[in-house]
Amino acid sequence: MGYKCKLCPSKAVIYMRQHRLALCSGCYVQWFAKQTQRSISEMRMLRRDERVLVAVSGGKDSLSLWYVLSELGYDAEGLYIDLGISDLGYSERSKTYAMHLADKLMRPLHIVSVSKSVGKAIPELVRRSDRSPCSLCGLIKRYIMNRFAIEGGFDVLATGHNLDDEAATLLSNVLHWQVGYLARQSPILMERDGFVRRIKPFYRFTEKETALYALLNGIAYIEDECPYSVDATTIFLKGILNQLEERMPGTKLQFYNNFLAHARELFEREQAPKVQLRQCSICSMPTAECVCAFCRAIERVGGTFVGLNVVRYEPKQCGASSQSTKAAMTAEGDDNGEQCRLA
């Protein structure tokens, strides 16, 4: 029983109904890397001579992205934003996974502390804010990612958003006809004054596909959802899209790809002339208002931005890659995942 790999005689580990493609572990890992490169090339996301900063959260998508970009030969460094979420040791454990991969790849990881940058960690900021936790946290993370990429001299910022993320966001934006967001929803946002180029090379992969890539490459990652996102609307919308996918394979890919092919440009054209950027009067970063959304949000919750607090984590040799597949297969939190610590 079970599917056979379409490319070799081995047993398949996944059948992707939207592609009508069954692959074994070896062929899948190669296919995944080729598809990543295809997305990068087709959308002209990243050149070989450019420095890319990968925003890593400790989850499967971002860690897989850092891994595959390194495998493909790109000059990729990691950025971990320490949100200071102490429930179940969430942030500390996430950071450990990011550091573990830094060691495995032998690449530097930059760690920015939210509490040391704005005076308070995410839980306290959320308590004092009337915004939803994900909305506030997303705003802070986007600001930090962009600012650090600019200050660090990176050409490109890459995030691990996958097809499920993009399709769920698109569904939400369409349900509420968020025209401004629809104009900016894209796997690539080109650089302009004060904004680094942002890319999402995984926009064609489902969450299941990125999880499988992590598993097969022995990339240990945090499986728990963020304690603040358990009831998030995005997760609900992803469930609905997966129900549609079960009945009509390929729905998510068509929904998002056809939006990119036929609709996004129309929204972009309508929005473009309306937005003129200037410098934020507090932090000097680009904004459409006098004071940027980040500074307004931080001020409202009683925080003070004192500049990015960054620690550079230098990797050290640790953990043989031949053992790590088994480690990731057995369990998150396996002792093998805890061997790498700050020097």
Partner: protein, 69 residues
């Protein structure tokens, strides 16, 4: 480990089934999980949906859903 049940571990909880055999697809349905967002692993091997499970097997189910924003 008993041979009389099929064990599935999901998010730290153990679920036991007494059926002699069952496909992965059926197991996920019984647990109300979508095959679109889960991976099933038996003995370090990732299984496709039509793989047959039997009594004595122990599988780990990994949720691929993550969220926020």
């Amino acid at each position: 480990m008993g041979d009389n049940v099929l064990r599935a571990i999901f998010r730290g909880k153990v679920y036991e089934f007494e059926e002699e055999k069952m496909k992965v697809r059926e197991l996920l349905k019984r647990l109300n999980l979508s095959p679109e967002s889960t991976l099933v692993v038996r003995d370090n091997e990732v299984l496709t949906e039509d793989e047959l499970l039997k009594r004595g097997d122990e599988v780990r189910i990994i949720s691929a859903i993550s969220g926020g924003s």
